[in-house]
């Protein structure tokens, strides 16, 4: 039995639920440091509407039923926040996915944004596209969409590998403004020299809070910071024990 894992899980659950209850409704909402990758995306939505183009959102090749489920859900938060703004500007985004399980969820988010405004007849399922089943083929296909459609900005958020470099190269060729959020080290390594507005690692999971500013997202970031301090204390404690117990070693 993995005692350590179970303890960590219960601790995380308690902190999150406590935060959601205590600061979920009352009190001033927490302040978070802004991340350029998500802040500039709102301006891009306005620019896309004015210039008659669209934003291309690449959600990566992570599926919903595997290891990358949560990374893909974080990417979908970007779509959810952008869908409302894009529908009210009547400039819906083009969303490319690399796994078929992500397709129905991304289409639902766009459809609901239209239904909230009573414009169900304007919803076009073709705005969400399943490009290809393998990561490299997906990246090359998404790059093709970014170059041929009337796209003004590239946003990459989700589970990627080093093949994300094909999408950023296509964006650089069309001189598009590019923003990205990735969790895998290989993807971050490939994006770091190409894109200045990059959210790395854990910052991808703050997409909802950054884009919408909703209370539940901000409060869960507070819970994340509390758990971070607890993890640091655990590491310091273990390192101290290891150091002391082997004092004779040197």
């Amino acid at each position: 039995m993995n005692v350590g894992a179970i303890l960590l899980l219960t601790l995380s659950g308690l902190v999150l639920v406590a935060m959601l209850i205590l600061r979920g409704k009352k009190g001033p909402s927490p302040c978070v440091r802004p991340l350029p990758a998500f802040q500039d995306l709102r301006a891009q939505a306005g620019y896309a509407a004015e210039s008659g183009g669209a934003i291309h959102i690449a959600l990566g090749s992570g599926g919903l039923h595997g290891e990358d489920a949560v990374t893909s859900l974080a990417g979908l938060q970007v779509v959810e926040a952008l869908a409302d703004a894009a529908v009210s500007y009547s400039a819906p985004p083009i969303i490319t996915v690399g796994d078929p399980t992500l397709l129905p969820l991304a289409q639902d988010i766009l459809r609901r944004a239209y239904e909230r405004r009573g414009l169900a007849e304007l919803y076009d399922p073709g705005r969400v596209r399943f490009v290809a089943p393998s990561p490299v083929a997906y990246a090359a296909g998404a790059a093709y969409v970014a170059t041929t459609e009337n796209v003004t900005a590239n946003m990459m958020a989700g589970a990627f590998g080093a093949e994300v470099s094909l999408i950023t190269d296509a964006g650089a060729r069309r001189d598009l403004s590019q923003l990205a959020a990735a969790a895998a080290p290989r993807a971050i390594g490939a994006l770091y020299p190409a894109i200045s507005r990059l959210a790395v690692g854990e910052e991808l999971y703050a997409a909802g809070a950054q884009m919408t500013g909703e209370r539940r997202y901000l409060v869960s970031l507070v819970a994340q910071d509390i758990l971070r301090v607890i993890l640091v204390l655990i590491i310091l404690g273990a390192a101290g024990l290891a150091f002391l117990s082997n004092w004779q070693g040197w």
Binding site: A5, L73, A170, D225
Partner: protein
Amino acid sequence: MTPEILETAGLVLGAVLTLMIFSYLLGDNLLYRLALHLFIGALMGYSFGIVLREIFILKVLAQLVGKEYIMVAPLTLGILLLIKGLPRHAYIGNFSVAYLVGVGTAVALSGALLGTLVPQIGATGRALSPASLASFRAGPLDGLLIVVGTICTLMAFNFTVPRKQRGLTGVWTRGVRALAWVGRVFLTFAFGVAFAGALTASLSIFIGRIQHLIDIFTNIYFRVIGG
């Protein structure tokens, strides 16, 4: 069509397709796009064939024939998911999407706990133990650097900023900001190593493809000259 000729024709086809993809180096052109769509189409058809054979024929049908009627449950969920194709009744498919999200989240959560949090915290904690330091050249200094680096990198992702900056919280905020600065230096190390790894891997594949092209051309060249 002897296997010999088929083999050579296949290799030549592979080489031509490789050159069509490499034509991207000169600029985005029709040859590259045709090769790309040929690849995506072939992969789509091939994967669809595998999904049909491996999942539906060998698994679902086999178990249904073997009177395991429990298979009806995933079948129903699957059929409900197909209704997502009709926007008007899309909400009926939410049961299947919820199932996928639930199971996927559990797999990812257990992967994070068992695969990363527990082993990495344990390894960082043991970084100062003699067993792990024996392999390091500078001994305890390296171990200490790993522990400090991990903690600073972890603090670099701190999100919330306390509202009141007076007193203790002010000290805490400044402390976190200093740790975050050091953490970003360690992060740059990690990104540099990750970028170099990605470059080396793709360079190895690039070398393999160039070598493949050279082998085919020399093969054909000598056969034509030799023949």
